[in-house]
């Protein structure tokens, strides 16, 4: 009932692709959003709604994700998501000055550890003397001493050292405690390739608490537990990627699919980078991306907009505008010239994933690509009719168009049924694709898909949090108005458009194929 998966969603690939469509735009519910901008550049989207009384879903989005990273600091956007819950000079410590000294001492030791690992341990690793430069089991005597000193300092700061609680400076997880007492629920955050989003649901009378807490952490997060929190992220990586049947293979498939773009590395980061972030890199990242001009707030629920604007002005005006704009993401994905293929075996059912490079969010073709996915999906879609029921070779099959900020992909996946092989599924998909390239989708089929997408336009408004997430992605990738303007664009997609994109993006040289086979025991 109260189970939490804090920092849960790392990637939300489908939400934006699903931003709904409406059959008859005249009927479309227009989401009434009030924009509100502070002098420091921070923008807020306000959506008062009364249907769910007494609560507000509130949060903010930093326009930064793993795509803004570079080799050496992959995963740092996600790591920030963890740091943002660790407090400021007010929240999370009973002695900020002493706490700062602890942090400085920890930094000095960790910098020294990193320096030794990057030189000596990497060197031993390259020569084949050790299997992993970061594994403490391979530590030199000098490293062992340093690591023990760092651990002692971390414990002392937590009040678990020789001086006991009185000598410690941390008030553990105070950020969460304050919200818990205040009736906050569903406090969480996620990092995707493009955005980092922090959110909570608070009682309507606690909007000021939200403004206090969020402006405090945006104003002065101190990256407390900068070193020890890495162990948690390593466990998160083991949990999500390394201990799941397909996690590591999906990561490799991403790395193979994207050649030059920043989408090639995982949101959670490569293990070596996760160990390596320095405090300076974090500070730099913070100064560039967590400034009011690069962050926007979203409120959806039962609140008075005039009152909300007063509170927002009072609290968020204290944020100082940054002194430089975030650097543009300049590296474009290069054109793929030849089919790429990955063959994986492990503890998973026989399956195939096929991907094509397409277009970013907002591209004129993105609407037709979404409609193409809709034609293929669901119980009455062509994949079910063709692969699951017709040929009887798939247990399931689905597709999605994932249009991100700087590039996009179209993915098809299918799981084998009975004795069918992944290659059988792959061939069947090519046959279905050929039909879509050869003839227009019939009117009634297109109408059906448009009806479904139109109803989805209402369904997406059913919960405050769902609307919050839609607005977060729309505004960060394009413009929040897309939530109201998108439906007409989807409605105007024609059968000829669908056929055109089916021909344009689905060449064999533009595809990457992952074949999954069950490993024999």
């Amino acid at each position: 009932m109260f189970q939490l998966s804090r920092h849960g969603l790392r990637v939300v690939p489908l939400l934006f692709a699903i931003v709904a469509v409406i059959a008859t735009p005249a009927d479309a519910q227009q989401v009434a959003v009030e924009e509100f901008r502070l002098e420091n550049g921070m923008e807020f989207l306000l959506v008062p709604r009364r249907d769910q009384p007494n609560v507000v879903s509130a949060g903010w989005v930093a326009r930064v994700g793993s795509v803004n990273e570079r080799p050496g600091i992959t995963g740092i956007s996600h790591f920030f998501e963890h740091m943002m819950f660790k407090g400021t000079d007010t929240i999370g410590t009973r002695d900020p000055a002493k706490d700062a000294r602890f942090r400085a001492e920890q930094k000095a030791i960790r910098d020294e550890i990193n320096r030794i690992v990057w030189t000596k341990q990497y060197d031993r690793f390259f020569k084949g003397e050790i299997d992993d430069p970061w594994n403490p089991a391979n530590d030199t005597q000098q490293l062992r001493v340093l690591r023990a000193r760092l651990d002692d300092l971390i414990r002392a700061q937590q009040g678990r050292g020789p001086g006991g609680e009185a000598a410690g400076t941390i008030v553990k997880d105070e950020f969460d405690q304050v919200y818990t007492r205040g009736g906050g629920s569903g406090m969480n955050a996620f990092t995707s390739n493009d955005i980092t989003c922090y959110f909570i649901t608070v009682p309507s009378n606690k909007l000021e608490l939200w403004a206090w807490m969020e402006s405090d952490r945006l104003n002065g997060s101190v990256f407390r537990e900068f070193y020890s929190e890495r162990d948690v992220v390593h466990e998160e990586r083991r949990l999500r990627t390394e201990s799941t049947p397909t996690g590591k293979f999906e990561e490799q498939f991403d790395a193979m699919f994207w050649a030059s773009s920043g989408y090639s590395w995982p949101v959670i980061g490569w293990t070596s980078d996760l160990n390596s972030y320095t405090f300076e890199q974090a500070q730099e990242y913070w100064n560039v991306y967590y400034r009011p001009g690069n962050v926007f707030g979203v409120l959806v629920g039962d609140f008075d907009p005039a009152e909300a604007k007063k509170l927002i002005t009072k609290y968020f005006s204290r944020l100082k505008p940054g002194d430089r704009a975030p650097p543009p993401v300049v590296t474009l994905e290069v054109q793929q010239l030849a089919e790429q293929r990955m063959i994986a075996s492990g503890d998973f059912p026989p399956a195939v994933d096929i991907r094509y490079h397409t277009v970013p969010a907002g591209h004129a073709d993105s609407y037709a690509l979404d409609m193409l996915a809709e034609v293929l999906n669901e119980r009455t879609g062509r994949l079910y009719a063709g692969l699951v029921e017709g040929r009887g070779i798939a247990a399931g099959a689905s597709t999605y168009s994932d249009t991100r900020k700087y590039a996009g992909l179209f993915a098809v996946s299918a799981q084998a049924r009975g004795d069918a092989t992944p290659e059988d599924l792959e061939l069947a998909w090519y046959e279905e694709l050929a039909k879509l390239q050869a003839a227009d989708v019939p009117d009634r089929e297109l109408r059906k898909v448009k009806n479904r997408v139109a109803a989805g336009n209402f369904r997406k408004l059913e919960s405050n949090m769902n609307l919050f997430i839609q607005l977060a992605f729309s505004e960060a990738l394009l413009d929040w108005r897309e939530i109201n303007e998108g439906p007409a664009k989807y409605e105007s997609v024609t059968a000829a458009d669908i056929r055109r994109v089916a021909k344009k993006y689905f060449d064999s040289t533009n595809r990457s194929v992952a074949i999954y086979r069950r490993k024999a025991n």
Partner: protein, 492 residues
Amino acid sequence: MNRRMFLVLVMSLTPMAVRAADPAKIPARPEQLEFAPLAFEPPAAADYRHVLTDGTVVFLAPSKELPLVKLSITFKGGGSLDPADAPGLAAFTAQLIREGGTDAMKPTEFDEALDFLATEVGVSAGDTFTTASMNCLKSNFDESLKLFLAMLRSPGFDAGRLDTTKAQRLAQLAERNDDAAAILAREWKRLAFGADHFEAAEPTADQVKALSRDALAAMHQRIVHPGNAIIAVSGDFDEKKMLAALEKALAGWQRGPDAPDPVAPTAKLSPGLYHVPKDIPQGKVVIGKRSIERDDPDAIPLVLLNEILGAGGFTSRLMQKVRSNEGLAYSVRSTIQPRVTYPGDFRAGFESKNATVALATKIVMDEIRRIREELVSEDEIETARRGLVETFPRQFESKPAMLQVFVNDEWTKRPADFWKTFRTKLEAVTAADLQRVAKKHLDPEAMAIIVVGDWDAIAPGDLEKRASMKEFFGGKVIHLPLRDPLTLDPLP
């Protein structure tokens, strides 16, 4: 004149707004903020409850917010009704009711008709209830309801769809050992409730293959009829018209008896240390025991205790000790899931890299002992209590969620004053109460520890030798076999 006055008013307000933005005015600590009171009384089911002429109970909550109607029918019984030789029959029946068309429409025809209307329909069976739901545009309600009821009253159980669904189910069975989390969940249920009880029972491949149309039809007869149904409708509709539409839709539908209560498990959990093999770089652990029934007088103090121990997110003790202090796990929590008619379970769970599974287990066991031995501080109780009291309204927030509470309460005969008195009872819980229920219900010696992972890497413990698996139950480990995913027989 009016306009001028308005302007003056605005001008006189502006300096105040500027003063309000003065950072000096921001209180130093969040505790200094003052909040307007927010009164909340839980809604009463009786205000939403109607009874059709045939006796069927209907809960209605209209709202004009969106042009949608959501209708759900909750039938009593699910896996609890499965015969011993056909585990999963109720779930499979529910799926086929949805997949198999109607006696008058082939599945593809039926699905096309619904999809063209953009109406979403689902049927699923859980352990003790089966739910059929429909979500449609209000303009399509009549037509959608007709299709929905045709499906429920006379499902087609189409032979082709039966084959396809069996093939899908068999493909799922083959994945049984792929994910360590699924292995852990399965083995926990077998230990806690017994492999034959419906909570734990799972079909073999042969049992899936043997499922017949007749068996599905019989299960359908047993579950899906108005004598065994409670209806809930939310969305944009007129109450009178809705009641009339439902009267008409149910007319002539034979009412049978309601399904029997679920059978209580007879198995007793044997405390001890258990291991199931899986080659992953992280051990996954559950530490738990059977717990209480829902209406147990200790339920409310136990919920509060569990909040403090491991359910309260970052504020809980397990999260602070295992994750936040030691960095040993990403996710660590405890849950109490009482069952309505028999004792449910308590579980603490986490996952940690192989070398620190023992250390994290030790910390969790120590925290369970500590919460029994030391009184919880008033401050900690107050934080957890405020959290539960302040978030109490949330379960009634959305209309569909509120109606689901009413439906569950009606089916399970929850005491009528439960929600009304919940917060008062919570406020009355003392530190001594918490200690009493901790001693009574959380004895670590009565718990089982199950570890899924690579035992050779896990057993020795951490580099610093802070803990090893030898510390638990005298180091005596019971190695449970992985089971063949299709036959469920132990693998060598």
